[in-house]
Amino acid sequence: MTRYRKQDPELTRRKFINAAMGGAAAVGTLSLVSALGSAKPVFRLTPALAPPMAGDVLVHADPSRYGEPVKVSDLGLQLVRAWPQGKDKNGDPVIRDQDPTSVLAIFKYPAGQVQEPTDLNATIDGQIVAYGDRCMHAGCNVGNNDQQPGLMNCPCHSGQYDPKLGGKVIGGPPPAPLPQLPIKMDGDKIVATGFFLSRPYGYTKEEDWKAYTEQVKEVLG
């Protein structure tokens, strides 16, 4: 036996192949990840994609009356679903119905029923309130509670809300109240006076929503 064994050339060849395969796998994974990155399209804010904002007229979302301004006489304990209608760059009216987060539910209650934590200054005479109509749980459209008029039920996972109490969660899994939209009367039209007062569905933190509204103001304001 010699003291120094000759190195087996097979081993180095194997090492080379292993390194080459490892390298190929790493490069392949990296390129796959970058290819996957292209799956997410860029978001471009357009007036139709914007959230409800100050000056928007609330118009019916129901297909039979789509686009007609909501009147006080339409309202009651059964919710009226509405879209905000703003203006585009040329000043032409545009219904902001491309982002489902913008859909609204409007109620009218007898005087005195709407209470804190509803922002009463953001209601019309403490009687007419508007909320974002996407459930804070999974973003389904929230409907009427058929047993108790004036309350809201989400058909998806049984979330329940009380619009008289600031859209508070009164049952089911939603983690946060519905966002209230500040409104006022302008002639016979109902008009938004600002953004949602709290985060709507799709924003996990209040800061994210605040940041987004700043961005919206910058782009469209």
């Binding site: 489902p100 109509d133 058909p155």
Partner: protein, 443 residues
Amino acid sequence: MNQWLDERLHISRLNDKFLRKAFPVHHSFFLGEITLFSLIVLIITGILLALSYEPSNSLVTNSFDPGTSAKPNLIPAAYHSALKINAMPFGDMLRRLHHWMANIMIAAAVIHMMRIYFTGAFKKPREINWWIGMLLLIFAGLTAVTGYILPYDNYAYQTVGVVYAITKSVPWVGDWAAQAAFAGQFPGAGIIPRIYGYHIMLLPGILLALTGAHMLIMIKQKHTQPQYAKRLAYKKIVGVPLITQQTPIMLLLALLFTGIVMLFAAFIPVHPVEVFGPPSSTPIPNIKPDWYLLWVFGALAIIPGFDLELLGGSISAEFVGAMVFPGIVIGAMFAVPMLDRSKENLYYAENPTNHPVRLAAGTAFMGFMLALSLAGYKPDLIEAGVLTTANANAILWILVFVVPALTYFATIGIVRLIRALREADERDAAVHSGQLGHSAADD
């Protein structure tokens, strides 16, 4: 011609290796075949549907109800093409056939898995095939869900909204993942082409590849042998060969099965797209997923809302209910072969009553799933006056725990009764034949 082919393709080797594969003679072994036939019919009907389907959510004028030129009736092209398919001769039936086959494929797969579980056929050496089977179940579920979205009616729209929300609920990466998976923020302009790609290319490809692997491994490892094979010829493969005995049985079963499902499709309407209408902001009352996802839906309905901040990520009830909890359930199903520590290979299907704990755990699991599925009917139960808003959650939570416990102990009790009766029978037989009783524990 045989010789000509054999010289080129070595048919005789193929024959020895694959075509003579022995199939056990027992009706419970047909469940996997039914799953396979459903997949084949799904692919054929899927191709036919794809020929007339338009994968686009761009708005087009509804040719059935065009509206006026000032106010045209615009609907998504995908929904419009679904209406057109319904208007084709047998078009509606084709859609129903595809729908029923999908439901039956998953049902057959679930019953097939129950057969595997209760007879211990997941044990060494067949663990890998159990895991591939689990992947098949998961991907079949995903394929079904993406298929639901394609008609792009209001039902599909509301469904995809929830699926998007579930994807988005994953902490840290959810927002990016949901946008990447669904082509932008819900409902992105390219959502239908994206889902179409998943449903007709990606997922069927995965299903076919996994099915191929599943069957190759099954041919390599052989079926577990039914108990009668042990008495007939111990440690020998007993059964009928694929060519020529099993093939006519398979064909007969496939035709009979497809025929029955066609009758379903002819007479039982499913998913009327016209009734749901095009995507809108009007919710669908008491919307529910398919029966095989109802347990997740039920869990979401009774989990109270919460939101936890953790290292900048948000852990919500949605994430726990739709991701973590099903993850645990599916993880437990994945772990089933690992619970068995035997080093021996299993050759013979086991009698479930000889493994009472496994049997009872299986029935308790089914009880658990049924109780959760019942929780999915929470709004309906409240509406019917069976439960009230105040007590619904408490009662459903109690059922979710009590039903499996009761099922477990009832199963153990019934197994004891069966074994006591069987032992009494054996004693009787021994007395009458004048011989010593022998144990037939594994019969």
